[in-house]
């Protein structure tokens, strides 16, 4: 796959190790939190691609997971709750040379941020979006999220959750995302591979990651996933939209890997094309005045 426009494989440079991407700030997550696995997988993926920290930007919202950018030596934008994708879109459009990776939680991305998600997908803006999906609100101490299961009991749903869970993979697929995958924080090598593929992919890439919250989610635990998570078999054709939708249909087992991957012009490419098309040498405001004389 052609993707020279998005990533900076600097062959001249030294090969960076995963630890080279670690910042001085110690992660503040609870011991055992799934987000450590995600962070480590990301370090590996960045190292695999040997991305230049100075040309990489991590964008996040608010939540335990959204603290991730501070733990990585790249540029970072830790904004407000739920606005990862508009910010990431602005960065990528402003400077397509940058590798832009959005990160955050299921609350941040699928609850308050859901109004931006299908739009980013249909625009096919060339960014990667990693959601640490722990099916709960961690930072605010354990309330239901849009991916929480039915009957899930929290302090805000003492009688059990009565709202159906969102299926972020299916939403991404029907909205026009061109790369849709799922990973598991306890399988960091697999996850790192998916991250690397997602970052290389030219277009909007969602990676939804099961990343257990050991402190507040007593249902979707590491034990829970044991035996339920399996790698998508090679027989799956990731360019087949309906097959991808079927695979993503909830049935108690959790395939991980790449559900869907197709090619379609990216927003940033097309915006660049418009610029080329509109380009005039030495444009001047003086010229623009003519219309108003």
């Amino acid at each position: 796959m052609e993707n020279t426009q998005t990533i900076h494989v600097e062959t001249q440079q030294v090969q960076r190790q995963p630890k080279d991407y670690k910042s001085d700030l110690e992660p503040i997550w609870c011991p055992g939190c799934g987000d450590y696995g995600v962070l480590n997988a990301l370090f590996k993926a960045l190292s695999q691609l040997n991305l230049d920290p100075d040309k990489t930007v991590l964008v996040s919202g608010i939540g335990c997971s959204s603290r991730l950018p501070g733990f990585v030596v790249t540029y970072g934008f830790h904004g407000v709750h739920g606005r990862v994708l508009p910010v990431a879109t602005g960065i990528k459009l402003a400077n397509p040379e940058l590798t832009v990776i959005g990160v955050g939680g299921d609350g941040d991305g699928y609850s308050i941020g859901l109004g931006h998600f299908p739009h980013a997908a249909r625009r096919n803006i060339d960014i990667t979006y990693i959601v640490m999906n722990n099916q709960i609100y961690g930072l605010t101490k354990g309330q239901t999220s849009p991916t929480s299961s039915l009957q899930f009991v929290t302090k805000t749903t003492p009688f059990g959750n009565v709202e159906g869970a969102l299926n972020p993979l299916q939403i991404a697929i029907v909205s026009g995302a061109t790369f849709v995958a799922r990973g598991y924080s306890s399988m960091p090598n697999h996850l790192a591979r998916i991250f690397a593929e997602a970052i290389k992919h030219p277009g909007f890439a969602l990676v939804d990651v099961f990343s257990p919250c050991v402190t507040f989610n007593k249902v979707q635990t590491y034990d829970y996933y044991k035996g339920k998570v399996y790698e998508i078999p090679d027989t799956h054709d990731p360019t087949d939209k309906l097959a991808a939708l079927r695979l993503a249909e909830e049935d108690g087992m959790f395939p991980i890997g790449i559900f869907y991957r197709v090619d379609r012009p990216t927003l940033d490419e097309q915006v660049a094309m418009i610029k080329r098309q509109a380009y005039t040498e030495n444009p001047s405001v003086e010229q623009l005045f003519r219309r108003y004389q």
Binding site: S23, G70, G79, T89, N95, V285
Partner: protein, 579 residues
């Protein structure tokens, strides 16, 4: 105005969707091209079809400051428009009306000119769509303008629809023109003498001037969401900005628009959005982020009428409060308000400059009456506002860069992604100099002081440059302190008051936050009484002045959806002087 030979007001009123706005714009441009000064006002219903559109143009051979107090020629194209506006026609003024549509009662004090506009368009020209051009011909003839002025603008307007359409409209123009020539018994050549055509002028409205000013000010990224009356800023920029290498994005909502702007700005681009009240409300959270995380951004608010959805196509100055105070807890921001169409061009450049240099969100408060005010202005001086660039650090080693370094001015050099060895994470959480989350009282005090210090620095260095004083405050009976779009009308009212023996002076600070407190207090100390006229209900600016300065002004707050009338302000000045 004494001594001037040409100075009259034409008001057009007709059904929304029937080309009244376009008629107004054609008339205005035609007259401006003849060399006259023009100054317009328009208002239209919130619906696409139905309701009455109103367009008013004042024409003179001297500089105009307002759209006038009374109507000399009223052109009524539908019954509702006639009914609602006929009382504005001055005694002795002329009513031109579409006799196919408008039943007119006795008007003993007016000259009355019926024109069967619909019949002419349909029967003679064969297209009801040409009604407004028939009317254009009639008006031009009535005021004594050459028919060529109409031909030129008609050609320009209809060119892209093909030669046939242009010809049909020429016919329509001449038909209207000739009708008056043959039948009107009180036609008067109101255009006195021949004005000189000045190529160094533009015929432009506030939104257009602001958009062009932004382009000239180096705008590189615009994201917005459509909203009346700000949409046309995006519509002017969309075809233009890419030519300059910039990007225009229509976002999914205002939250996303500002999110994109902050992203682009973080990535090093001069970035802006424009909206109106409801959109500004949705941006409140991220404006605060920009203040706290120190990300440059310009947010233009073209204020409209009414709270909530309110009166979307009317004007008001009702958003001062939310602009200066609309933030949970406190982070710095700058608020600017242009006072004229010309000013829109320059002030937005300052806004971009200030945002970049001080790393703050800058809110620019325009309004519907200013944004849609089409008038003649001197061709802007492209050298007047020099470009300020963002202050960036030297390349460094990752991990050592103090993004939020505490400095004397409060400004910390800001790295841009791509710059080597300066990787940092911008954050809205309270942080230390290295942008690490930090929650101690000492750090909070130090950082908040640093951020607010930027406003102080800005105020001290530039407050004066953004203040305009009209007249001599020393011993004036009334000192007016106003803001935004009312400047012209206030100046005209001051002249009118002067003619009645009342001495007034006016001060317009274009920078409302930080407010030039000392200049305002000095001005106030020289005048007998301070009057604050503004187009809102609660007197927001007067209250703001009371909060921020020692001035105790008299508030004249009036919310009607329409701009002030100079006569009304004159009365108020006299009233206050004699209080």
């Amino acid at each position: 105005m004494e001594g001037s030979r040409t100075d009259f007001v034409v008001r057009l009123a007709g059904e929304s969707g029937e080309g009244v706005l376009s008629l107004g714009e054609m008339l205005t441009t035609a007259l401006a091209r003849l060399g006259y000064e023009v100054y317009t006002f328009r208002t239209y219903p919130a619906e696409i079809k139905g309701g009455t559109v109103l367009y008013q143009v004042r024409v003179a051979d001297h500089l105009l400051l307002s759209y006038g107090s009374q109507v000399d020629i009223f052109v009524a194209l539908n019954e509702e428009g006639y009914r609602d506006n006929i009382s504005a026609l001055r005694p002795g003024g002329t009513l031109i009306y579409d006799s196919d549509n408008v039943p007119v009662h006795d008007l003993p004090n007016n000259c009355v000119v019926p024109v069967p506009i619909g019949t002419i368009a349909k029967k003679e020209i064969g297209s009801v769509l040409t009604k407004n051009v028939v009317a254009l011909g009639a008006i031009l003839r009535y005021i004594g303008a050459p028919v060529q002025a109409g031909e030129q603008i008609a050609e320009q307007t209809f060119k892209r629809k093909g030669e046939e359409v242009v010809q049909k409209n020429f016919q329509a123009l001449h038909a209207g023109y000739n009708y008056i020539e043959q039948y009107a018994d009180c036609s008067r050549p109101l255009l006195q003498g021949v004005a000189e055509v000045n190529p160094n002028r533009l015929i432009i409205n506030g939104n257009e001037a602001l958009a062009l000013g932004a382009v000239h000010g180096g705008l590189e990224f615009y994201a917005g969401y459509p909203i009346t009356p700000a949409t046309d800023i995006m519509e002017v920029l969309a075809p233009i900005l890419p030519r300059f290498g910039g990007v225009v994005m229509q976002a999914e909502d205002e939250i996303a628009a500002l999110g994109m702007v902050l992203g682009a700005s973080f990535a090093g681009k001069r970035a802006m959005t424009a909206t109106s009240g409801p959109g500004l409300s949705l941006m409140v959270e991220q404006i605060n982020l920009a203040g706290q995380a120190e990300i440059p951004a310009v947010i233009v608010d073209v204020q409209r009428g009414g709270a909530s959805t309110g009166l979307p196509t009317k004007t008001s100055q009702g958003d001062l409060n939310i602009a200066v105070y609309g933030v949970h807890n406190e982070s710095p921001r700058v608020v600017l308000a242009p006072t004229s169409v010309e000013d829109c061009f320059y002030l937005v450049q300052h806004a971009l400059n200030i945002a970049e240099r001080y790393q703050v969100p800058v809110i620019v408060l325009s309004d519907q009456s200013l944004g849609h005010r089409r008038c003649t202005i001197p061709k802007p001086d492209l050298m007047r506002v020099p470009r300020w660039e963002r202050i960036v650090p030297e390349p460094g080693t990752n991990g050592e860069y103090a993004r939020y370094a505490i400095t004397e001015t409060g400004i910390s050099p800001m790295a841009i992604p791509g710059m080597p060895g300066l990787a940092y994470t911008a954050t809205g959480i309270e942080h230390n100099e290295y942008s690490d989350p930090t929650y101690t009282p000492e750090n909070l005090q130090a950082m908040k002081s640093k951020r607010f210090r930027k406003l102080q620095t800005l105020g001290e260095e530039y407050a004066e440059q953004f203040v305009r004083i009209w007249g001599d405050p020393e011993g004036a009976d009334v000192g007016i302190i106003g803001w935004g779009s009312t400047e012209g009308v206030i100046r005209e009212a001051m002249q009118l008051a002067q003619a009645e023996g009342v001495k007034a002076a006016a001060l317009y600070p274009k920078m409302l936050m930080p407010l030039p407190v000392h200049i305002i207090e000095e001005f106030a100390s020289k005048v007998k009484r301070v009057l604050v006229p503004e187009k809102n209900f609660t007197g927001e600016f007067a209250a703001y002045l009371r909060a921020q300065t020692n001035v105790r002004p008299i508030s004249y707050a009036k919310d009607t959806g329409l701009p002030f009338d100079p006569e009304e302000i004159k009365e108020e000045i006299i009233h206050v002087a004699r209080m």
